[in-house]
């Protein structure tokens, strides 16, 4: 059982989740509410990691942050080292890789918020920022939580991108999924079994807690929202 790899994976997933919350919300908001005619291009770019093989994504991250690229050299002049084969590099690749898993549930939830509520908020003098934090976000919290859970789980389970960008450096970039692969390659089935079991139980518990919270906190609430809709005056 490789505890270092497990903790590294959890640390990576938590960091990626936090970053995705911070950049995912504004991206999702923009995708939902912008009327820019070329918006679909941005939507396609955000969704690309869903269809690209992880190796392709990893390859481009490697190239884009390597010492041949201006971006890579800029980062080196600022931090003293290059991104590939470091924890930060791994985090960057994971953020890109999990972006659609965070953004898409948020977009879905944002678009379900009744536009009239946004109009009402604007007429009552609220700025867009206030409308977002007081109306849009509370009414789409389930979507945001779903996005976070999905990107956490997705980061925990990723393999190809980690291998391409992170390599396999114990304590730095060796995540649990790669440790399991190594164990199996070395015919160390008992260690692989332990790691896999811990990962399985952990994922199950996290998902169960999320769904139960969902039901307790937001389930009845969303029911009531439906009730409100049906009792609203007919057009």
């Amino acid at each position: 059982m490789n505890w270092d790899a497990l903790f590294l994976s959890l640390k990576l997933a938590a960091l990626v989740c936090t970053v995705l919350l911070l950049i995912g919300l504004p991206i999702a908001y923009w995708i939902t509410f912008s009327s820019w005619r070329w918006k679909f291009i941005v939507e396609a770019i955000v969704a690309l990691p869903l269809v690209l093989p992880p190796t392709v994504l990893g390859f481009y991250v490697l190239v884009a942050t390597g010492q041949q690229s201006p971006l890579g050299r800029l980062y080196r002049s600022w931090s003293g080292h290059l991104l590939p084969f470091t924890f930060e590099g791994l985090a960057l690749a994971s953020v890109i890789y999990s972006l659609p898993f965070a953004v898409q549930p948020m977009v879905a939830a944002f678009s379900l918020v009744d536009r009239n509520l946004l109009n009402a908020s604007a007429i009552l003098g609220a700025s867009r920022m206030r409308t977002f934090f007081r109306i849009v976000l509370p009414l789409s919290i389930t979507g945001v939580v779903a996005g976070m859970v999905l990107s956490f789980a997705h980061t925990l389970g990723e393999f190809g991108v980690v291998l391409m960008v992170g390599g396999n450096i114990p304590g730095v970039t060796e995540t649990i999924s790669i440790a399991i692969y190594d164990d199996v390659q070395a015919l160390n089935y008992s260690s692989a079994n332990h790691s896999a079991l811990v990962l399985l139980i952990f994922s199950f518990v996290v998902l169960s807690i999320t769904y139960s919270l969902n039901r307790r906190m937001w389930g009845p609430w969303s029911l009531r929202r439906d009730g409100a809709r049906s009792s609203a005056p007919a057009k």
């Binding site: 109009n119 009552l124 509370p138 009414l139 609430w221 409100a228």
Partner: protein, 360 residues
């Protein structure tokens, strides 16, 4: 302060061209669904920008295409009651009401929200979630939310359409009481003929984006036949009348139709005896019989003679002279089975509740 609107905006199927002014008090914006009423309201509120024109409230310009002025909805100091009310479902009634008071200190917010909720008789609901409030009370909370900010004008987009007449008129009386102290222009959008006349001090009639009539309710009703409110609302029969008798215990009144000896039993309303009023009846709500019907619940049964007939699509339009001319719509099957033809003597049957009263 008077609201003056003179705007144009291209819509999908027609051009919205509105030019009217609304003094303090309730102005009805009347028209059928899809006539452009809501778009017009959204333009006034600042949710949509017109293509051209000008909107001003007293001396302050809200929109002026030539001067490139377009205040945002938040800057217009407008109260807006949406058709679906748009109460924030995750907030309590009080939080909803206080939403527009963010710039005030908490104590002042509480004081004002409590005062307006009490004034609109829903103070007891302050702590309830917006979604746990019942029909007529939701309208009151939404009204409180739009009034608490002391708006310079109030726009209502059929917010009471789903309510029964009694609940509706109680809310409107409370709104009138509030406006007696505030004196702001209130634009009230409706497609209901009775609402238009029960509520409005002035009526503006919109059809396909154009304003086709405006004035006091009675003036508008007496406009040329093709353009009347009653026509738009689908009331083909419209008669001037006076109240001849009131039966409060039965909930009915008897109306004498002007220019004839005909009397109709109609539902009881608040109209004082002697006041001028109109009786509106849909052509499809009148029945024709060739023999006098007996043992039938309808209260208005009288003789007439078919003066003219024509067909429109799969319906026969029958004009019956019975002291006044009634337009009646029947199916082609009814026409043929009853052998209806000009000159035939027939009985007309009208239920009391098919007679809609509009008072001036």
């Amino acid at each position: 302060m008077t609201l003056t609107v003179d705007i144009r905006r291209q819509l999908a199927s027609f051009m919205l061209e509105a030019n009217f002014s609304a003094p303090p008090g309730i102005t009805i914006l009347f028209g059928r669904s899809g006539s452009g009423k809501t778009t017009l309201l959204n333009c006034i509120a600042g949710l949509i920008a017109p293509d051209a024109g000008r909107i001003a409230l007293g001396a302050s310009v809200l929109f002026d295409a030539d001067a490139k002025i377009n205040l945002s909805a938040a800057q217009r100091s407008v109260g807006f009651l949406f058709q679906d009310l748009a109460l924030f479902p995750h907030l309590t009634a009080r939080q909803n009401v206080e939403y527009g008071l963010a710039k005030l200190p908490a104590r002042e917010r509480h004081r004002r929200s409590a005062a307006i909720l009490d004034e609109l008789r829903v103070g007891n609901l302050a702590q309830r979630k917006a979604t746990e409030i019942s029909g007529g009370e939701m309208q009151r909370v939404a009204l409180a939310r739009s009034l608490v900010t002391d708006p310079a004008m109030l726009l209502l987009d059929e917010p009471l359409a789903a309510l029964d007449a009694i609940t509706k008129s109680a809310i409107i009386e409370d709104l009138r009481a509030w406006n007696a102290a505030h004196g702001i222009p209130i634009i009230y959008v409706t497609h209901s003929l009775e609402e238009a006349f029960a509520v409005g001090d002035g009526v503006v009639v919109v059809e396909a984006g154009k304003i086709i009539a405006r004035g006091s309710p009675l003036e508008v009703l007496d406009a040329p036949r093709q353009e009347t409110i009653a026509q738009l609302a689908g009331f083909e029969n419209l008669f001037a009348a006076t109240i001849a008798a009131v039966h409060e215990d039965l909930g009915t009144m008897v109306c004498a139709l002007s220019g004839s000896a005909l009397e109709l039993e109609v539902p009881l309303t608040q109209t004082p005896p002697g006041a001028p009023l109109r009786v509106a009846i849909r052509a499809g709500d009148i029945m024709i019989a060739t023999a006098r019907p007996h043992e039938i619940s309808a209260r208005n049964i009288f003789r007439g003679t078919i003066a003219a007939m024509r067909t429109e699509g799969h319906r026969a339009i029958v004009i019956v002279e019975a002291g006044v001319k009634f337009e009646v719509r029947v199916t082609l099957g009814s026409r043929d089975d009853l052998h209806l033809q000009p000159g035939a003597r027939v009985w007309l049957v009208i239920k009391t509740y098919s007679c809609h009263l509009v008072a001036g």
